[in-house]
Symmetry: C2
Subunit: 229 residues, 2 copies
């Protein structure tokens, strides 16, 4: 059975990617990054999703990106915006996808895997530069010069099955593959139990996705009072 490393955040997109990788016949080695993100509920969601979709294994690697800060997700002093903003939002974490893909590349090499899956999306990508196809293509080119495996002719491929899908299309695809989105957490400031605020950019994009797909949204929400409404 061919092996793949699947980056799994615990959110809607990466859960769908795991289901897609599995449907393509890969033994899925899931990797999550505990980067001291604001929303630790995300990592618990990743564990639930990996178990529900019967991943071959799931590892969580510790890397404290709050050492660098520079993002609302890693610096408690920067608030998560409650409305859409122009340009790249403060929830952008510097070089996060580059760091996560680098770790996936390392693990893939050790496992002898030649396939890495990541749930980046160019449609709803919130302006993050490291969710664009040209970025992924450049990472793949670099990866194919970086490793011993590459020197030995084993080409690494970065799979981005969601890159051109709308959030509604992602949800429809995942449901067809049996993803339980009630297990996932997208909110940037979910509480410890995984309940969403309903106000941040990520909550808004997710809600609009379920609406556009015509699917009941299984997201568990905080009360208005708890969410500060």
């Amino acid at each position: 059975m061919k092996k793949a490393v699947v980056l799994l955040s615990g959110g809607l997109d990466s859960a769908t990617v795991l289901a897609i990788a599995k449907s393509e016949g890969y033994a899925c080695h899931c990797l999550s990054l505990d980067y001291h993100q604001r929303h630790v509920a995300e990592l618990n969601a990743a564990k639930r999703v990996a178990a529900a979709l019967e991943a071959t294994e799931h590892r969580i690697i510790q890397l404290d990106l709050s050492v660098f800060g520079g993002s609302a997700l890693t610096d408690p002093a920067i608030a998560v915006p409650q409305a859409p903003t122009d340009g790249i939002p403060v929830t952008y974490v510097p070089a996060r996808n580059t760091i996560m893909l680098s770790l996936a590349l390392a693990w893939a090499e050790v496992l002898g895997a030649r396939d890495i899956f990541i749930g980046v999306n160019a449609v709803d990508y919130s302006g993050y530069p490291d969710c664009r196809l040209e970025y992924i293509a450049a990472f793949e080119r670099m990866a194919n010069l970086a490793t011993k495996a590459a020197v030995e002719g084993k080409t690494i491929r970065i799979h981005t099955p969601l890159i051109h899908l709308s959030k509604a299309q992602i949800i429809q695809r995942g449901l067809a593959l049996g993803v339980d989105y009630g297990l996932t957490v997208s909110c940037y400031q979910a509480d410890a139990s995984g309940r969403a605020c309903g106000r941040c950019d990520s909550c808004r994009i997710r809600r609009e996705g379920f609406l556009a797909a015509g699917i009941a949204d299984p997201t568990r929400m905080m009360s208005c009072e708890e969410a500060g409404l």
Copy 2:
């Protein structure tokens, strides 16, 4: 004063790179990675070097790559070779330079730095694929698509001032800039106090460099008995 992120391992090469970056007028923000490497003495050397060369700051980030293993430097079950080997040696750490450059990229973006220095070397590079110029060029291209800074037109440059130098030339360059190589540790299995085994590939390359440069080698060595000779 323009800022640079300098990757500092505690070895001979990165100490020289720090001295070069400083001589070019950069405020040097040094980054070391504690990846649970076999040779922890290296990190203590990095601290000494950063202090001696008056780095602006020095941060050590924790990332346990022994979770993945796959290298003599991260897996105690894989022995460090005591003689040169054909091909890429088992001391190669999968995707290490990619991971370190990714972390440097993240920090550079937060600092507002546009320059990253790394001590890779194509002459004495021991067969490591991620020490080649084409790899570095590919990383730079990727980095210039990856970040918010890049989208805003702030180009990142990866500086590799040692890439075409022999070990002897590196040593001569560093001595001219005041590097005290007695502070550095190159050995893959140095003891806790930083004394070298004299037998591993890294010790051999370092010794040959001092010989070729006609410079007395300040490396502190274990006794023959301690080194298992």
